[in-house]
Symmetry: C2
Subunit: 397 residues, 2 copies
């Protein structure tokens, strides 16, 4: 048969989640508190559910047919009114989720640009690039020392920067000053920013930007991806969006959206018409109220966890669903093992998100077990939870 596509050899084997799962499987399900997952635990709103049901009924006597690859204009308008007063609805493309859009954006970019990717990071930015054959990836350490942001004083030559804020996994939120300087740099050095704002609804501090387009001039240098998944409980339904501003142009002055529309028309047929109706309901007055309640609930869980972990240094959890916990061990797999052994709490070792994640674990406030986990940590004591002198130490990955 065929030779194997050589691009796949650029990927690291997927040991991380497999290994976490294998460790989890050693504990009885009812005892284990799974704080590793980034998946939601609160359902979609009654508003969304009712609208979806109504539309489903209508489908037996209405032909919807293929919708536009860019999704429904009404939904783009609702997104513009809710999130993007500074944009035109025609700059918003509805999709089946941010992950899928990131893959399609890599297709748009081709496989020969120099990509800057945060370290630690959500693995999809680099893995989509590698599968398409792009090896020109520079990891940009985002550690406590650099305020969990790429060090712009030492930014290497890149063509594209992937930035996630609020960040997965660190929970850090880029400040206005950080983003202003970044946009200025992107304009002068002519690189593209791909801004992943999938967690922006968690931002409560009015001083923190929720969208890159709150920064002047960003519409000439940035694409933004985002999602209904977390704030509206849509993870399984699949709905997201991508902003490609009209002012964004390639070196020859050709607007990028022209090739983007070619990508989505060729590799995609638009998100489900039914799910898009749910998206409209999500952005209604009642839908947005439900979203705010959902976000408050997750943030309250995060706060309980943060309080329980208080002797430790924790980033995130205030404007973000993730807690990035600095652990006394240098090896984050040791901390992972200790927390699992002592408190049956499943976390993710920070090094799983990249080398700069060593010394941290990620806890997710999406988990329904947050309150119990916080109580358990308080009962046992933080240092006892993380103490694991006599266990054999598994190899870090």
């Amino acid at each position: 048969m065929l030779p194997r596509n050589p691009h796949f050899t650029l990927l690291e084997p997927t040991y991380l989640f497999q290994k976490i799962q294998e460790r989890a499987d050693l504990y009885p399900k009812e005892e284990l508190l799974n704080l590793s997952i980034g998946d939601v635990s609160l359902p979609i709103s009654k508003e969304c559910s009712a609208t979806l049901a109504e539309e489903a009924q209508r489908l037996s006597h209405t032909i919807t047919g293929y919708g536009p690859s860019r999704g429904s204009h009404r939904l783009a308008e609702a997104l513009q009114q809710t999130y993007y007063p500074m944009l035109d609805p025609n700059e918003i493309y509805i999709s089946d989720g941010a992950k899928c859009d990131i893959g399609r954006l890599q297709i748009l970019l081709g496989n020969n640009l120099r990509l800057g990717i945060q370290d630690p990071t959500y693995p999809v930015y680099a893995d989509t690039a590698r599968i398409l054959g792009n090896e020109r990836i520079t990891l940009l350490p985002c550690t406590k020392e650099s305020d969990y942001f790429p060090n712009l004083d030492e930014l290497p030559e890149i063509d594209v920067l992937f930035l996630c804020s609020p960040n997965n996994p660190t929970g850090a939120v880029a400040t206005r000053a950080q983003l202003e300087r970044l946009v200025q740099l992107a304009r002068s050095r002519r690189f593209l920013i791909i801004f992943d704002s999938a967690y922006s609804d968690f931002i409560q501090d009015p001083g923190l930007p929720k969208s890159i387009y709150e920064i002047e001039g960003a519409d000439e240098v940035a694409i933004e991806t985002s999602s209904f998944s977390k704030s509206f409980g849509f993870t399984g339904l699949r709905l997201g969006w991508c902003v490609v501003p009209k002012k964004l142009k390639d070196r020859e002055g050709r607007p990028l959206y022209l090739d983007w529309e070619r990508v989505i028309a060729t590799f995609f047929n638009g998100p489900s018409c039914l799910v898009q109706c749910g998206g409209l309901a999500a952005l209604s007055k009642k839908g947005l109220e439900a979203r705010d309640q959902t976000i408050n609930e997750y943030l309250s869980r995060a706060q309980q966890l943060k309080n329980a972990l208080s002797p430790l240094e924790v980033t995130g959890g205030e404007n973000s669903p993730y807690l990035w916990v600095s652990v006394p061990q240098k090896n984050s797999w040791e901390a992972f093992e200790a927390l699992l052994e002592n408190a049956q709490i499943l976390s993710i070792p920070g090094s799983g998100f990249g080398a700069s994640g060593g010394g941290y674990i990620r806890l997710s406030a999406f988990s329904k077990s947050c309150t119990t986990a916080a109580q358990r940590v308080q009962a046992i004591g933080v240092s006892s939870c993380l103490d694991l002198p006599q266990l054999s130490v598994p190899q870090p990955i």
Copy 2:
């Protein structure tokens, strides 16, 4: 900003549908009979609609969360029972549609294999390859002379063959003998077949294979893509599937499904959980009865059209929703213009699907206007419909 991704220069501009639309816009909507569209005109079944509504109601108090990237196992089992008695359900991957799967398959293959693509053809096979930077495309004429199948006696060296049966646009269905010889050739010459069976439910002749896996040995050389779109009215809902058999291996003996699972886990998050419930209902006893009624209705429309066009040579329309009409003009744009001017029937000029489509037009039996179109052709007379001596001839594209 960025240099443009050079792959896009490999694409031809998208004039075809734009030009057809521009011509259509010159006629009042109520007079125009649009037989150009491949989109459905019959709704989803009551069964599907009710199940979707029920599931939508349930979603306000049930957490579905991320499903597996490969889709629901129950739905894979239902597909296996309905369509693939010879396969294992684990070989079936549920998706958001055949077009999206074709794009992801190109990602799996990489951009350096030699692709054989039928001419005329559905444009997505070549366009997805070109956008990913693959220029190694050989067009394989599928004309009346070669029984609308690639000439296997003169098959060039290729790594992958894309084959669509029942074919879009020619309506031709590959025979068992044709497919047997093809599979044999793929095995001996070690190329991969990507078999698009999106229209297989239209096959009524029990002698014609509906799936490539009806051919012995195909599971070692073929991937199959298919869809709920046409038979179940799911075009807007987005649901399809892809079969990657366990026996399919690369040159080093590594099963292809391993890299395929990496592609879907990285570029995709699975189809919508809600829509998948609709898919289950579609494959229930009542759902399949509704499918058969739908197919019969489309085939009856095709028959009416075929009868009206009877003096002309027409392929398809019997085991396929498309009619491929041989026109007296050599230039298919002339025939397109004549039919539009004389009978206000919108077709697609065959040359729009590739050079070998010259001298043909495609008519779609999906259109709700088929009966009226057939009556109009009969009233005017076929030759008068296609006669256009005094009009200026537009340039072919």
